[in-house]
């Protein structure tokens, strides 16, 4: 691979997260390096989605430290994480159902739009220009994801596979440093999976975006990720390059135990 993997950009140390009596995550440490594709795998309920929610501030762990670009962050709200360049997609698609594809992706530009409410209400020159400038950028994303034909369609009317793509588009519109993808290929057919893989690799390749990916399809994970973390019952049971992880007895046991 030609790309250059950089320094640690995100460092999670001894993260523990509980919901009442449920231990979702127990003492988990791992890091993410700039420009890499980092996969998180593990059986259902292992705590993968919770991990992403910790990274972008939806959940706040009871113990542990998170360093983002060398700085410790505390009590971060999701919109602050977004402002720092962390974007994500959702396991259960969380698009804005009543809005068109175009508007959904435009919301991803929100953080970069500066004109105030009054200027927007008046559609005043700078507000209008800003709108058009970001529209042009969003159109590039629409082209990239090959969804030109549905740009004006309300997302609620789209089939599942396309909704997943729009979800990715909305996250990409933020031009994130780190992109968190929660099972982007779940429920897709082979062709759709191939398309999605191609998009993810292209994003990683062309824009240098760091990617943290949760995925169940082991073939896909082994193919596209640089390093893999394995979770089981909220504990980390493996961490390394795909080949290492695949041959680790503990990982094999967890997966066989879970019926995979």
């Amino acid at each position: 691979m030609s790309k250059q993997i950089g320094d640690v950009i995100l460092d999670l140390q001894n993260i523990s997260l509980r919901f009442g009596g449920v231990k979702a995550l127990t003492d988990i440490s791992f890091n993410v390096r700039e420009h890499e594709v980092r996969a998180i795998i593990g059986p259902n309920g292992a705590g993968k989605s919770s991990m992403l929610n910790v990274i972008n501030g939806v959940y706040h762990p009871q113990d542990g430290k998170i360093f983002f670009r060398g700085e410790e962050r505390k009590a971060m709200q999701p919109h602050m994480a977004a402002a720092q360049g962390i974007a994500r997609t959702f396991q259960n698609i969380a698009l804005f159902k009543g809005m068109s594809v175009l508007d959904n992706i435009m919301t991803g530009r929100n953080l970069q739009m500066k004109s105030n409410l009054l200027m927007q209400a008046l559609w005043w020159g700078p507000a209008r220009n800003e709108e058009l400038k970001h529209r042009a950028r969003v159109e590039e994303i629409i082209d990239f994801l090959e969804i030109q034909h549905i740009r004006k369609t309300p997302v609620g009317r789209l089939p599942y596979g396309l909704q997943k793509r729009v979800d990715l588009g909305r996250a990409l519109a933020m031009e994130p440093k780190i992109l968190l993808l929660d099972e982007p290929m779940a429920g897709m057919n082979v062709e759709e999976k191939q398309d999605m893989c191609r998009f993810i690799l292209d994003v990683n390749d062309q824009f240098g975006t760091t990617i943290v990916l949760i995925e169940h399809d082991m073939g896909v994970v082994m193919d596209i990720s640089d390093r893999v973390v394995v979770l089981d019952y909220g504990k980390k049971i493996g961490d390394g390059i795909p080949d290492e992880v695949r041959s680790s007895p503990e990982v094999i046991k967890a997966y066989l135990g879970a019926g995979h």
Binding site: H79, A81, A83, F96, M106, M113, Q120, A127
Partner: protein, 358 residues
């Protein structure tokens, strides 16, 4: 060839983001506005202005405000009437207490006061939603009902709480005759309609809708829920407050707190539900419907009864009105939450493809 957009290709995003991207729509709307400004004043009589057109225009403005909050931002309110009252009484106080305060200044300051109160009473929306928020806004309604009745300063010490405004002067134009009042209200509605449309097609409108549709995801892409919700409360209350001030100043002339009771709040909510949640034009449909229906029933039901030899009392008519509203609300909430506006859009869609639906 009544409704064709062949050959209208957009060559820039600017052209594509116009308010009415289809040329026929643009012309139709311009024609309607021109007719409203020129044709209607020539055709309508005093009764039409007073009983139908002026109330329709002002309530359209209020419904538009409610729709921004309820339809676009997904927050419920049962207190819109109170914000009309705040707008009306605040504008009244600015007008009588500040020498030389112009009419427009008073209306806008009334709206701004209402917006500030909207922010205050919108704060519960940061913690609660649905039923609890409805109850909180209802509490605002009762609080202000009480305040305007009991706190005499608000009503300039008038004993009944009744106040009046005369000599409406709009930059030298004395708004007096019903046709003039109509034109003033129409002008205001056009301006505010444009502002609303601009907001809903810009970043702020998308933030509101994002919060409405999926608040967790909205926050994750960087929308601050507090800003989105409170700005919706502020803008909505501003619109409603200006409408309230116009209701008092222009439509009623003199009024008491009962003019803005909880009935008004429900009426405005019904307008946006029937007209179409999350639709600007829906607000107008809803207002038209609710203003015209009672008048229509008043004329029609007795006539209909006459045909069958039964006499129908006024009480029966107003009961019929309530029943019809009830049925329609249930119908729209269950079958077509996007209201008359969606029915209209669907028929237009069909017309665009007609006669080849595939």
């Amino acid at each position: 060839m009544i409704y064709r957009e062949n050959g209208q290709f957009k060559t820039s995003y600017g052209a594509d983001q116009q308010i009415f991207p289809i040329a026929q729509d643009r012309w139709a709307v311009l024609a309607i506005i021109a007719f409203a400004f020129i044709g209607v004043p020539l055709l309508a009589d005093e009764y039409m202005f007073r009983a139908i057109l002026i109330p329709f225009l002002i309530l359209s403005l209020a419904a538009l405000g409610v729709n921004l909050l309820v339809g676009y931002c997904g927050q419920i309110t049962l207190g819109a009437g109170a914000f009309m009252a705040i707008g009306a009484y605040a504008a009244y106080n600015f007008l009588i207490r500040i020498d030389g305060m112009p009419l427009l200044g008073a209306l806008i300051l009334g709206g701004l006061t209402s917006a500030a109160m909207g922010i205050l009473f919108g704060i519960p929306s940061l913690r609660v939603r649905g039923l609890y928020l409805a109850v909180a806004t209802l509490a605002a309604q009762f609080f202000w009902d009480w305040a305007f009745l009991r706190i005499k300063w608000f009503t300039n010490d008038s004993s009944s709480g009744s106040v009046s405004v005369s000599n409406l002067d709009f930059f030298g134009w004395t708004i007096d005759a019903p046709a003039e009042k109509y034109l003033f209200c129409l002008g205001m509605l056009v301006v505010f309609g444009l502002l609303a449309k601009n907001m809903t097609r810009a970043s702020i409108g998308r933030q509101w809708m994002a919060i409405r549709d999926m608040d967790v995801a909205a926050e994750v892409i960087g929308i601050r829920p507090m800003w989105a919700k409170l700005s919706a409360f502020a803008v909505s209350s501003f619109f409603v407050g200006v409408a309230g001030a116009m209701w008092g100043f222009v439509h009623l002339g003199s009024w008491e707190p009962a003019a803005f009771s909880v009935d008004r709040s429900f009426q405005l909510l019904f307008m946006v539900i029937i007209g179409g949640l999350g639709s600007i034009v829906g607000s107008f449909f809803g207002a038209a419907f609710i203003v015209i229906l009672p008048i229509f029933l008043n004329q029609m039901l007795p006539a209909l009864g006459g045909l069958f030899g039964v006499s129908i009392s006024t009480a029966a008519v107003s009961h019929a009105e309530l029943i019809i509203f009830g049925v329609l609300i249930v119908f729209f909430l269950i079958v077509e939450p996007h209201g008359l506006a969606r029915l209209w859009a669907t028929s237009k869609e069909k017309l665009r493809l007609w006669p080849f639906p595939h």
